[in-house]
Symmetry: C2
Amino acid sequence: MQLFNTHKELIYEAVEALSSRNFNSVYIEDIKDYSDEEKESGLKAFQLRFNTDFTDLSVKTDEWVGEEVSPFLQTGLGIRYPVIDEQTLINNAKKSSNSWKNIDIEERAGILTEVLERLKDRFFELANATMHTTGQGFTMAFQSSGPHSCDRALEAIAMGFHEIKRFPEQIKIDKTSGNFSYSLKKTWKPIPRGISLVIACSTFPVWNSIPAIFANLITGNPVIVKPHPKAVLPLAIVVSEIRQVLKESGLKTETVQLACDTSANPITTKLAENPEIKIVDYTGNTKFGNYIEQLDKITFTEKGAVNPVIIDSTKDIESLIQNLAFSLLLYSKQMCTSPQNIYIPADGIKIKDGNVSFDDFTDRLQIAVNSIYEKKWGPSVMGCIQNDKTLKSVKEISMSLGKKILDNGSFKMPEYDSARTQSLKILAVDSGKQEVFQREIFGPMVFIVKTENTDKSIELALRGVNQFGAITCLVFCTDFMKSKEIEEKFNNAFVPVSFNFSGQAFVNLHTAFSDLHVSGGNLSGNASIVDPGYITRRFIWIGNRFML
Amino acid sequence: MQLFNTHKELIYEAVEALSSRNFNSVYIEDIKDYSDEEKESGLKAFQLRFNTDFTDLSVKTDEWVGEEVSPFLQTGLGIRYPVIDEQTLINNAKKSSNSWKNIDIEERAGILTEVLERLKDRFFELANATMHTTGQGFTMAFQSSGPHSCDRALEAIAMGFHEIKRFPEQIKIDKTSGNFSYSLKKTWKPIPRGISLVIACSTFPVWNSIPAIFANLITGNPVIVKPHPKAVLPLAIVVSEIRQVLKESGLKTETVQLACDTSANPITTKLAENPEIKIVDYTGNTKFGNYIEQLDKITFTEKGAVNPVIIDSTKDIESLIQNLAFSLLLYSKQMCTSPQNIYIPADGIKIKDGNVSFDDFTDRLQIAVNSIYEKKWGPSVMGCIQNDKTLKSVKEISMSLGKKILDNGSFKMPEYDSARTQSLKILAVDSGKQEVFQREIFGPMVFIVKTENTDKSIELALRGVNQFGAITCLVFCTDFMKSKEIEEKFNNAFVPVSFNFSGQAFVNLHTAFSDLHVSGGNLSGNASIVDPGYITRRFIWIGNRFML
């Protein structure tokens, strides 16, 4: 209970923020607010791991594996992780489940918040680990695996705390009917579903997994974390930190385990299909996500998405272009929230004093994109391509399918001569060429679709949304009634819309406590981080009755 | 908004009761509190319906069907209901969806509560309609379709109101990062999933359906109610009342529709599989329930159950026997909450000064059951068997499979010479005969299983629970540690336990606002009336963002 007392103000404030939906960033996202010492010691901690075995998990095994390759260095990190076979993982989880389930929700919340407070001191170690496994630029790697991840985890703790506190633990009921009366004690217990599996992806290993890990833990379920074999380190740090706090609290470290495998010998489906696994969280490609969803379990998925941009009109075309260019470039379009298809009417974009023609727009967008590459901070915005498969699939797209706007191959990453980079390819196509743009391209490829008019843009974008799912939709429109119509149509397809973004507000970014990430209502996934269902489906309310 | 203002105190109190879990019966369940005039006019309203067409729904059709037969009279009621083809039902629902979705949650809550307040004046009409379609005795028919149903519906309204009020409709966020600052308006909208289908059963047509109907409506979804062709009238009354209030409120009556069919020409699967149907609620047999659950839709099911009773020890054997006898007899064991398998150790039940032997217990239970038949109010407790299939399946069970404790055929129902009745059959079997008792028998058949000891009782009961699901579990045990163990084991199988019930507290009865009905965690169904997930899965939270 001590840890709850230490952190209770933080927890209560987080619960409050859930319903206010206000900006509630507990963990500071601005790198400038951190000291040089912090940065340096984080880097050093990361570098010390090269060519060593990751022993912080304190597990016994004879088998160690590791195949991480830095997309910046294109050399292996040489870090090896302990392998535990599937049945041992399950047995360990089973053995740990009672002790974790039986402690108070306050104690669980205290322990989990303590983990976040400790991770805070390792943000720069996490940043380097993330950078050199995912290919994210340094700032994004810092924010996504550090403060933003901890905010999301805290949100999951808060939602769990709120939901489990919803019903009283027990009450006494006196009932009289006619001449009869009796008293009952009633109790309500949130019973955890059972062992959970969190399957992470290679691009956002921590950000996408940590809400699930913490949602499972706060509701009392043991967790097996299955990292992508190419992006283990960031999660290994998180899992070892949780285990450390569990150990210090006198609880079983096996409440959270890391399930390492190799690309050659994957264990994901074996684990997912194990009947003891009751909950599966998954982030990754649509095909595997569909397989996960059809398992007879509680599943939470985030799959592929084709996110549209509809441009009808704007008050400030330059601001639009700058904002859009940045959104397209962020992490080389390897974000699930990145826009892909930009729909623009053939007769251009309405502005205050006239029109920006289609060609004028593509010219200006191309210039804006190129100018970011030339900025000192530009390459870091794009970062590297996480893996060769993504690179290859983007390279393979023929620019003869439409009008080439941009296609420049790789770009120079300062300080990293061997970095796996690919500059953004932009292709303009006619709306008739649906086979070209109505598909998901993960990585730096964008289509600008020339449509008859905005109504047609809406129609085509909706068709993509219904076929592939979407996590975001960015709309530029100054007409009130048209905006209303777009909002309604996309909302009815369960896609949220961001209108007229400019400056430092980017459609790619979803803020913890305020924005829900993925609606859960379209093909991009059935999870919504962190809506109430993200928590409540992980346990069952049981009401016992005792005659007094 | 007028109706919300009229009922807002009721609604706010109901929301409060959700979290207190206290007894909150808004609609009076004691028949004695109603006047003779109310009873008589309800009976008259019902009788006036014989051999007429049910025109209160005000739908146009050329086809009218009806095949209801009173289990008390075993003659047809002669009431015909309008048939609307599947596509028209869907089209109507689609056309009505916008108007219903777009009104405020307050207005929806007001309208739905008004419906309940009006149904209050028709409780006795509903009681007779329910009695003569389901076979329930008068008191149960009154309570189940009247006050208890309205309490459950109010609970669904309150939970919906609470969940939809969880997030603000809009907020303004000002964010500064570095030298940049901007303002966003964020809105949160609960978008209804779409057209919903509620498939009712023949034994509790209103009680089991009305929470789903109201849960769908409060969250903005149009509803198609598919009654069982043998139990239409109670739901027809409810649906026509909703439509009437919708009409008076200037809204589309097609927001709620009744989908009548015949046993020869069922339309349930056609409707359930229609891609426009997004939510399906179902109460009925396990086989069809499993089919519903595997549809790629949001589904809520309540299926079969094998509810166990474990008797280890008691402070008051006579009270135990009286309480258990009543629970077994209620509506001739056609309740989803009725106990079926009674597990008793071979060396009897521990009491204060010794033991009640197994044979002594079966003797006394048989006497207690028989004495209820002989009471003036007895036959009404049992009521009739809803249909011939149930009757046949109970009759067919051979009593030579074990030791016959009771097998008396039909019994006399006062005033109804032709009533379809069957007295409770009780068979004592050894624990080895699992093929006899490890199955669901819907209707008046009970097994008393002689086990080695209470540990074996627990083991066998859990096996049944895991194989067939259970909604209730009744336990008699005076040993604190043993009780704890049983509680934990059954709770871990997601089954709630009722301990040492006596007097007027019956395991069969789940109280609105206090008890959750079905845990949603075992094979008896995935719905829990009314837990938060019963509401939140019916809509999707969408957050739009607007640059200011």
